[in-house]
Symmetry: C2
Subunit: 216 residues, 2 copies
């Protein structure tokens, strides 16, 4: 008897992520999965991205948090349809939670969907949601050693936004050391230092995002 | 036939945590489990705690990180025996990892063991290590809404250190909102705002720590 080997079976999460992706493509929706440590500025970045794209995109948002609707409420105040997923303790979003949120959004009216993951530099990397781009936000007060300590996240993403550069004069942050750590892990990563507070660098990120979106 | 019900079985982690705790108590070692988001300042806090206790404690350290030995190296430079646990992707320390690290430390020469958990505001709360005190470090640039978003961690700890208060003049951080969120979750928590950089507030934390330690 020859033992049959079944190869290339997708994990349950990857299977559902693929279905999400098919739906996004069918509807013409470009999807970002925004990942960061707690307090790096995910919601601030989403707010300033929405503001900058106000005339160029119809944005929707899914917000993942262990608890509360604080972030979805912030984005909803900008007139953007927003759905909150409370994970009830889970440390990351997964494709199935995302799929469950989609029917609550007006998908025919959206062309850019921003998914804010749970604040966590480790667990979310293991769970694709069906997104087109994985976006990581680091922030200067977290320190310049984060690529060396959390290599999985820095390796997994398409673009890295280093937020809160307005605080740099007050911090001991060695930008060369930070960049060397990132480049070793992910030589092709796009990198934008910026400040959601002062808006420095935001326009460069927006132009890059539009380029990636419209090259699809 | 009466079905037998087995109650009060400890989880494997709790069982090993209890064994760790017995060893700590037998050796007269007081143990802290330090938890925080990435970049809140766990290692800085450990460094300044070691400096402040230089004449009053023999400190040892276990450092948990997904990768690298950066933090253990920093503490070892202070002349403190330090063991690095690389979790290889796991998002928290557990009691068994801790138990595996203990034989690498000179336990008969230590009376205060500081365990730096993996940078994560969610997962470490579920895994006791055998510690006497659970210590959380929040930091002001993370924002004032963290108690509302990560209630599990704020509920689980004995003491909360709010680090980087030197940056407060540059941030929009509503201390009353932050405190209200903490107090609802954990009315008995001890709270110390401080700065590992300027040393403001560090002495109050040290006095409290010594009080808790010596009341044991």
């Amino acid at each position: 008897m020859k033992v049959q080997v079944v190869e290339d079976i997708l994990s349950a999460n990857d299977q559902i992520a693929l279905e999400n992706r098919r739906l996004f493509d069918e509807k013409g929706i470009f999807v970002l999965n925004i990942m960061a440590a707690p307090g790096a500025g995910k919601t601030s970045l989403i707010e300033c991205t929405i503001e900058a794209l106000r005339d160029r995109a119809h944005v929707g948002m899914i917000d993942g948090d262990v608890a509360s609707t604080i972030d979805a409420d912030r984005v909803a105040r900008l007139g953007v349809p927003a759905v909150q997923i409370n994970t009830g303790g889970a440390c990351h979003l997964d494709a199935n939670m995302t799929a469950a949120a989609l029917p609550r959004l007006p998908l025919d009216e959206i062309d850019l969907l921003v998914i804010e993951n749970v604040g966590n530099l480790i667990c979310p990397t293991g769970f694709g949601l069906g997104e087109h781009l994985k976006v990581m936000i680091a922030s200067t007060p977290e320190g310049d050693d984060k690529p060396y300590k959390y290599p999985g996240m820095f390796s997994a993403v398409d673009v890295l936004l280093l937020n809160k550069v307005d605080l740099l004069p007050l911090l001991e942050f060695d930008m060369d050391y930070f960049r060397r750590g990132v480049d070793v892990l992910n030589p092709d990563i796009a990198f934008f230092p910026l400040s959601c507070k002062t808006k420095e660098g935001v326009q460069e990120w927006i132009e890059w995002l539009l380029g990636r979106w419209h090259s699809l």
